[in-house]
Symmetry: none
Subunit: 417 residues, 2 copies
């Protein structure tokens, strides 16, 4: 039973962990949800709590995914923009500067009215993005690529000689504040030049968007027009070894969110596209489960990421968060019934706590459970933040998980003799 | 309820943790004490054990406090002397060399008879210190500042060009041994010069002290004369960011012990003076509680330090240690009754284990409990070393605590996107 036959699937419920919620009689959503399959994984497996980055440190979904894949985000993370762009299918080269963007709504004084342009639909955003790609820059030797991803999300890549990531954001990150001028963050000519290019783009994008037929139609329907592109998180692609290079394994990623796809792509993972997987609460959970079962036939390690609970948490929607946890539970139930559990490890966790109350990523630890052959199962019977704290894994860090899974798969190398 | 309204108070019982004690039927003092309020914090909060520095590593009270404020003492600690001096109100500048000193009793052969000169009273020590400040050095371009702090404790600061911390202690740290000559610890002219200055000072201090009327009166009363200054822990002030710079918070310190005050001052905390807070077992616990409650109205984070249990532990006084723990418990009871617990986090811990048996700081972990809004409370019902080990925090490090508290206060920044 040792060796190449063993597989592992890691299921990540984005922002699934939470704090006790008053409306749930001080239970967390995980504690309040009906979740027989999550509990079965906890019951048959080894459990613990995990500080994705460090105790008290709120992770982003990108740094969290890097950590969960075994990379130290404090060492390798180089901004969200490039990862998002890679994940949305843009080829980001070393030297390119990439930004995470939002379609947003501003008034005529450039005050932000809606940072997500009413969570504009993918189809509309695609039409707008297509028009934006036609903008001409004053300096013809600088190229840019603009691509919408999910809803209001988009990526912008700047390619050319002598660019720098040392530029500020245009996104004020708050409704009611003005769009910021992008400024160089150091005195280099590269930073000044990059800021200039970006301000030119932002201005020209606005000119195109405000006159666009998609937006005129939105205004008629009483919807906020997507008349501004907010940029943030200038970055480059991290220069890391792939999981295949590190562990000698074949790896796959099932995720709809561009940012997660980007991280996985950079880690050398095969991106598996699943019809109906949208990164929204309406995603097709069962399609993802089936894709993961299929992937586990070929790939040693498969990451299955579900964005939905994070969305519900950011929105403060208690009922929806519980409902989505229960859908993840059903998805896991299908996987438990259809995987060969004698040769497959199934791990489940959250990439961070997203508080329904604050609507933010928090630095609280997350629960982790790993079931599969020969794990040292413990007494934990339920998968939630407090039950798992009593588990056999005790308290680990995010970057510990991948070596633990690879060790179970027999893919780690002895250090010493 | 999120945001700037949330406050945190950290109560540190110095050396409060211990090992099982035979005379207590193998209970620890915390286990043996009547402590309803400590237990209430454990019961309503999240508990754990904490390695202040690292498992098995005995911390000093200075390195422990640095760690508990979130600073890595292995990186920033630069000796006790400077912290003690800062805490006693001496302005220590970058470049100054500071020492921790004791008034001690020696015989005519300079053999130490009492390292604490019978724990000389503050008033007598102040008179002696005033006389010592009049000593003239051969090199007039070197200045010194000498100040008594609590009882036998004092601080000495040397200011001048070309000084070095690379000098040995004069304190043999043992009764029955001779006062040591201070030696340079490297071959630099600075170290040699600093050692020379110090030996000159120690000699001249002794000449003043042995003839001093305070000491003559002590001898008449059968008390050990404070006829020697023992120096140790040459250091400079650590070059660290303040807590305000790191977290954007207002912070306050309620502590009588100079060393703790020094650490807090260096961390940018407001030192709140409390009438009756003495750093001794006779300190006014209730005055400290009231000051902390008052501080929490203004300051985001307040540290309340109680030196007393450490003193009892060093003295091997079992009954007194239990009694002091019970006084801390009453102090916490008053705080629980008078704080707004819907918006205030109350954390309690020890800065290290001080063993009644060995009389020393030990490297055993310490219990930690945090109560307040939305914490993931656990099943722990009692605040002691063994009960807390079963808590939801599991095992953390000292430097983890501050990020955990700041995360609860909403003062940590997301890393990543």
């Amino acid at each position: 039973m040792r060796g190449s036959k063993l597989k592992a699937i890691l299921v990540i419920g984005d922002g699934m962990a939470d704090r006790p919620v008053k409306e749930l009689k001080w239970k967390t959503p995980l504690e309040a949800a009906h979740k027989p399959s999550l509990n079965q994984i906890a019951k048959t497996g080894i459990c613990g709590i995990m500080d994705i980055i460090a105790p008290g440190a709120p992770p982003g979904s990108d740094t969290a995914t890097l950590a969960l894949l075994g990379y130290d985000p404090l060492k390798v993370y180089s901004g969200r923009g490039a990862l998002e762009a890679v994940g949305s299918g843009i080829d980001v080269l070393l030297g390119d500067i990439a930004f995470r963007c939002n379609f947003a709504t501003v008034n005529k004084d450039f005050v932000v009215l809606d940072r997500r342009a009413g969570r504009i639909a993918n189809e509309e955003a695609a039409k707008l993005a297509k028009s934006l790609q036609k903008v001409k820059l004053e300096k013809p030797f600088v190229k840019f690529l603009f691509k919408n991803t999910i809803q209001h999300r988009a990526a912008l890549v700047i390619r050319g000689p002598k660019l720098s990531t040392a530029v500020s954001d245009s996104d004020p990150e708050k409704v009611g504040e003005k769009v910021l001028e992008i400024k160089p963050l150091d005195n280099s000519p590269e930073a000044k030049f990059t800021a200039k290019i970006l301000n030119e783009l932002v201005r020209k994008f606005h000119d195109v968007l405000k006159e666009h037929s998609v937006n005129k139609a939105r205004v008629k329907k009483g919807l906020p027009p997507a008349n501004m592109i907010l940029c943030r998180g200038a970055g480059t692609v991290p220069n890391i070894k792939t999981l295949s290079e590190i562990y000698g394994i074949k790896t796959a990623c099932i995720a709809a969110a561009s940012l997660i796809r980007g991280v996985c792509k950079v880690a050398g993972m095969k991106l598996i596209n699943v019809r109906g997987a949208t990164g929204t609460p309406q995603t097709d959970f069962m399609a993802k489960a089936k894709a993961a079962i299929q992937a586990a036939k070929t790939y040693d390690f498969t990451l299955l990421h579900v964005k939905a609970p994070d969305v519900a948490s950011h929105d403060g929607n208690i009922e929806q968060k519980i409902e989505l946890i229960e859908k993840i539970d059903s998805m896991l139930g299908y996987m438990l019934n259809n995987l060969d559990l004698d040769s497959t490890y199934l791990a489940v966790t959250a990439d961070h706590t997203t508080s329904l109350l604050t609507g933010k990523h928090e630095g609280d630890s997350v629960p982790i459970a790993v079931t599969g052959p020969y794990v040292r199962s413990d007494d934990v019977k339920e998968f939630d933040e407090r039950s798992c704290a009593k588990g056999g894994l005790n308290r680990i860090r995010g970057i510990d998980l991948m070596p633990i899974l690879m060790n179970l798969l027999g893919k780690t190398r002895k250090f010493g003799a």
